[in-house]
Symmetry: C2
Subunit: 318 residues, 2 copies
Amino acid sequence: MEQYVVGIDIGGTNSVYGVVDARGTIVASGSMKTGSYEQVEDYIDELVKGLEFMIRQVGGKELIKGIGVGVPNGNFFNGCIEFAPNLPWKGKIPFAKLISERIGIPVALTNDANAAAIGEMTYGAARGMKDFIVITLGTGVGSGIVVNGSLVYGHDGFAGELGHVVMRRTNGRLCGCGRTGCLEAYASATGVARTAREILEICNKESILREIAPEDITSKDVFDAAVKGDKIALEIFEFTGNMLGEAFADFIAFSSPEAIILFGGLTKAGDLIMNPIRESMYKNTLNVFKGKTQLLFSQLKESDAAILGASALGWEAK
Amino acid sequence: MEQYVVGIDIGGTNSVYGVVDARGTIVASGSMKTGSYEQVEDYIDELVKGLEFMIRQVGGKELIKGIGVGVPNGNFFNGCIEFAPNLPWKGKIPFAKLISERIGIPVALTNDANAAAIGEMTYGAARGMKDFIVITLGTGVGSGIVVNGSLVYGHDGFAGELGHVVMRRTNGRLCGCGRTGCLEAYASATGVARTAREILEICNKESILREIAPEDITSKDVFDAAVKGDKIALEIFEFTGNMLGEAFADFIAFSSPEAIILFGGLTKAGDLIMNPIRESMYKNTLNVFKGKTQLLFSQLKESDAAILGASALGWEAK
């Protein structure tokens, strides 16, 4: 009888989940809005309904080996979501326990970016690599670090918060974490939109982006404008890419990865973001590492990677 | 018959070496000035003489299982010293091969800071820890990173160059590596001396340090003055500790270590440097990690730790 696992990816905006077979095919899936549930109990009620419906579709829970969850600030060691600044639920939530009690299937949980790294290693751009870093560029900026073939969890299960290294120590932007100058405050989707507002305000150059009310500009608007050759939009990607390259040079000094793999919404910008990152990374990297680390895009579809990565944890859930 | 290993630690200023038994006791040792040998061949000639003399003292080379070397920019994977900015010898030197050919004993080689981390894990402050970082504060600033019980070498053998993360992206000090703003340019012994010169120049406050010609001030002078309560000297440690704390907060975001262990000359300043580091590290650390990472001094004598750490590699040399 065919065995499956379930992968759940909880993002700041959307949650996606799917049933995955042993070959890495997603055979059923669903999604819901994370932000619509202020109480985690209400979120779980709705998620459990969705999971149960999906699991019935594939033949019932006897066929499900385990459930893996990828979630911001997810702690692999204790199965809790702890103090996630980009989620509606505060404090420490024993999420794996709450789900497994309701569904009756073992649940393992980790950081969403760690889940993406597992997915990339198993099915994507990091196949065969033992040392790499996945950087997720979405609502926030996250990371999954693999050293010598294993995920870096740290002593407490939370290692790999590379969105919160400090890039600007004076006059840094306020970050969602309450500190200032973090990479995430610049390179997340909201960071890119903020860069747009700042550049539009301090200069008088023409731009398609001026047709949008400043507070409504999104990173997608910047992308659309850049594709049309809008100079300000290109400058925004240049600024964002430059900062990511500076950050990556420091990451290389830490773990000297074979590759840094970019994942998430911002990667849709393709060369518009990749070229400035590559240039800045090369310029800023210490001589001994120069030119050794590949810069790659994820080879998995965004929603698939999240589900596949999380689901891989499901095989080990106990 | 008792078996031994040899540990060699090559620093920018001095080199030390010793014969170590299976219980970690240094039974014979020697030293030489690294900087006096412009040609690596001359250095090796002298080193080999010293090693052979020492090995005869303990009963001959039949008793030596292997030789471990800790050296800046030492590559564990190929046994080479590659482009070390703080050593007199340029380019890529197949050091392990050169030594093993002369002595007829297998040689393994790694970064000096990695060797210190192995020493700390085996005999020092990191006993029983699986996730920690050793920061060496000497002529340069180095690091040995341990994740899940293993040293982080990276894909090329050079991971852990934490002295070269960039702390000041505008008006940063020129570093020995050719870039600007690196941690090492501030927190190394020469960095501390430079901070002294800069602070003395921009203010008029009285200080014992004004009795020394600015270009002759060393980090030891700053320590001696601080012990006497000299306000400028204390301010210099405050500045240095603050920057180290900022850097450590970023390191914690990377690998979430159980402890950061300080090693090397600057640690002689004790609380004078530890207190400002601890305060700054706490202030700058992301909430999820706050208060979780211990800040410790090495528990090994400086020269012993280097020899012991390097020698531990000797047991595995092939």
